[in-house]
């Protein structure tokens, strides 16, 4: 009990004892080594290769016969015209769509995920089944759930329209996925459905590891539960929440399957990953597609750093 009480208090800065500290650092690197070696082995080559090919004109069918073209895949001015990924209107459309998609879906998922985690944490009856049920959307393979939703959202024989018509909420069936103004939002709704469980489960773990006493104290003091949440709970789960948001953002920025299965390659929903995939695979332009992939990764990196700063998640320093 004492351990948990003191745990909530920020620890005082401790000066390292040098010999012990060195030993600990050595142990730390020993612990890190297997993970780092695995990552270098598995990710090193594919990533270096992508970065390299983005500077060449390699095609998928003749990967050997490439020429070094510098930054031409990114931007090139020739005969008074701009070429390259950065000069392509469709790319910028994809950037806009992706940012909109990622921003809205991650926001909704976070809010909903926290709500669900709180409900589960509060100890509802049949909690076990609830927890299993919450995971179901996340557990259905994306290729299947995307197709399933495109049928549910079908304008003629889809259940969603049927339900809305029966309830009298709409006068005529809505073309959820064909209407350029609605398509992106429909995909967002499906993504929220699919990945909210991810946030919920991570936040639930954070809630479960919280010291209960703070709540008890607040409850005894008669503080409104909403205030307890914002003033006690939220600050305590902030690191876990930040990580959930970062990984959701990472995935949402790279969204592919969902969009591709539900709406094909239409401009209304094209995302950066769909764009990169078209160039890399469908058009077999490995050089150009790799450039798009590198730009996407750079964008994700930038966003991650912004989120880390906004969440004041301290990576390097001491513990909170």
């Amino acid at each position: 009990m004492t351990a948990r009480e003191t745990g909530a208090r920020p620890p005082a800065g401790r000066e390292p004892v040098s010999s012990l500290d060195r030993a600990r650092t050595r142990a730390a690197w020993l612990c890190l080594a297997p993970m780092l070696l695995t990552l270098v082995l598995v990710a090193g080559w594919p990533l270096a290769r992508t970065a390299f090919y983005s500077l060449t004109d390699a095609g998928l069918s003749e990967l050997g016969g490439y020429a070094f073209v510098g930054l031409e895949n990114y931007l090139l001015r020739e005969d008074g015209r701009w070429y390259g990924v950065l000069a392509d209107g469709l790319w910028w459309r994809a950037v806009g769509n992706t940012l909109l998609f990622a921003g809205v879906s991650v926001f909704c998922e976070t809010v909903l995920g926290v709500v669900i985690a709180l409900v589960l944490d509060a100890g509802v009856r049949g909690q076990g089944l609830m927890r299993a049920a919450v995971l179901i959307p996340w557990a259905i393979p994306t290729v299947v759930s995307a197709k399933m939703w495109s049928w549910l959202l079908h304008d003629q024989f889809g259940m969603v329209n049927d339900l809305l018509l029966r309830l009298g909420l709409v006068a005529a069936p809505i073309a959820w996925l064909a209407d350029p103004d609605l398509a992106l939002w429909s995909v967002v709704a499906v993504d929220v459905w699919k990945t909210t469980p991810f946030v919920a489960l991570l936040v639930l773990a954070a809630l479960q590891m919280l010291p209960r006493d703070c709540y008890e104290a607040a409850r005894v003091d008669g503080v409104h539960p909403v205030r307890v949440f914002f003033q006690v709970t939220l600050p305590l789960i902030r690191p876990a929440l930040a990580i959930a948001v970062i990984f959701r953002l990472l995935d949402a920025m790279r969204v592919f399957d969902l969009v591709y299965v539900m709406t094909g390659a239409t401009d209304a929903t094209v995302t950066m990953s769909v764009y990169a995939r078209q160039q890399l695979v469908d058009f077999q332009d490995v050089g150009y597609g790799s450039a798009a992939a590198v730009l996407l990764a750079a964008g994700v990196a930038l966003l991650t750093v912004i989120v880390l700063m906004a969440a004041r998640l301290d990576l390097g320093g001491g513990r909170r």
Binding site: Q156, F157, A175, L177, G264, A265, T266, V281
Partner: protein, 419 residues
């Protein structure tokens, strides 16, 4: 394990060849292939393993790209779409020396589609073409003939749709087709253009031909359907989404491939016995009643260690005996015209009589000319079509722009047919 044991027992003395073929993944497609392959194994003493590939042709092509660009010898014989020979040209073996005069027995258009730069890259296995399905019962009820022209189709669709809606089916629509941004839309557009004499985007010499008044007229016609006889949702329909509406009895006309026939007429189908099928309409007098050419073919990978044996397997599988068996057992449309007169084939598929001229006249996508750039060309066309049909961008100027985009594609590295 069993295969290993067998191999060990046979010993190195027997020089049997082991091949791998990709042909369908599961179900009837797989069992047809397995049987055909087994016959060849018995006849030649060689062994063949079957590699399963995904049902979606996009996924399948991506997998082939991955294997072939690595020069992998994991697959010897590939089942490829009729528009892929140009895309995969440099990875495929010229089959001409291996198949004698066999190509002469197949539909010339299909053989032509499989010939790139004078090399026969694949042998036709089964064919497909876009068709117009109609509700024979409804046309009779409203006294309308099956439409020969797009304008007739639109008028009939409007009349029947209004009548049926008034009679208590608010979900009735006139015409469903494939408007999603994918290869199926390209096929639909190509058919409109053929009906208006608007060309095929790019002619055989590689010249871009899309910026013409007839093509613009075809696009304007299609735009007129949205919201009047076709639901807006059609702009995200693929084959199954369209079939779902038609087969539930909620559409008068449907554009689809021949596969929908057996299903619409199948047991339990609400429209069973009320469906007719015909060639797609034309837009002008000199237009062509053309369905887009589809279908699958067998090719041999350049990285195969046994190209001669692989070509022999292709020759066997695409031969008349195999095609006949496949047509009778599962209605895979033969690419050999003579089989459409075969009494056993006709007994199993009574509607084949009507299909033959449609297959013969099918219009091929410009995949040979565009070669490796075909996928880009196709995706430019989807975008332009969606702009015009869905967003209401004026047709003529948008087609001018499409023309410039396609021309730029051709210039930036040629049409890509070089070996």
């Amino acid at each position: 394990m069993a295969a290993l044991a067998l191999l060990a027992a046979a010993g190195p003395a027997r020089a049997e060849v082991r091949l791998a073929i990709s042909c369908g993944a599961l179900g009837i497609e797989l069992s047809l292939c397995t049987e055909g392959v087994a016959r060849w194994e018995r006849a030649t003493g060689n062994r063949v393993t079957i590699i399963s590939t995904p049902n979606s042709s996009t996924e399948r092509l991506a997998l082939y790209h991955q294997l072939l660009s690595a020069g992998a010898d994991d697959v010897d014989v590939l089942q490829i779409d009729v528009v892929w020979p140009g895309i995969l040209a440099r990875h495929l073996v010229d089959l001409a020396p291996h198949v004698d005069d066999a190509p002469a027995r197949h539909f010339p258009a299909v053989v032509a589609a499989n010939t790139v730069g004078g090399r026969l890259l694949a042998m036709p296995w089964w064919t497909d073409a876009g068709l117009l399905y109609y509700r024979a019962d409804l046309l009779e009820k409203y006294g309308r003939p099956p439409p020969e022209r797009w304008s007739e189709l639109a008028e009939t669709a409007r009349i029947v749709q209004a009548g049926e809606r008034a009679a208590g089916n608010p979900r009735m629509w006139g015409y469903v087709w494939q408007g999603r941004a994918y290869e199926g839309l390209f096929c639909n557009v190509l058919e409109w253009l053929a009906g208006y004499g608007g060309g095929t985007f790019v002619d055989e010499a590689g010249q871009v031909t899309i910026a013409n008044a007839r093509a613009a007229e075809a696009f304007r016609t299609a735009r007129g359907w949205i919201g009047t006889i076709s639901p807006q949702g059609v702009l995200n329909y693929d084959e199954e989404a369209a079939r779902g509406v038609f087969q539930a009895g909620n559409a008068v006309f449907m554009r689809n491939w021949p596969y929908a026939w057996a299903l619409a007429q199948g047991e339990g189908s609400p429209v069973r016995g009320r469906v007719g099928v015909m060639a797609l309409p034309v837009g002008t007098d000199d237009g062509r009643h053309a369905g887009a050419l589809g279908g699958w073919n067998l090719a041999v990978s350049r990285y195969s260690r046994h190209p001669a044996e692989a070509a022999d397997l292709v020759r066997h599988l695409t031969g008349a005996d195999e095609q006949k068996r496949r047509a009778i057992q599962a209605s895979y449309n033969p690419t050999i015209p003579a089989l459409y007169d075969d009494p056993e084939v006709l007994a199993a598929n009574p509607f084949y009589g009507r299909l033959r001229p449609i297959f013969e006249d099918a219009v091929a996508r410009p995949s040979q000319v565009a070669g490796r750039r075909y996928s880009r060309l196709s995706s430019l066309v989807w975008r332009a079509t969606h702009d015009i049909v869905s967003r209401g961008v004026p047709a003529a100027p948008r087609l001018e722009r499409l023309s410039a985009e396609i021309a730029r594609l051709a210039r930036r590295g040629g049409w890509g047919t070089e070996p």
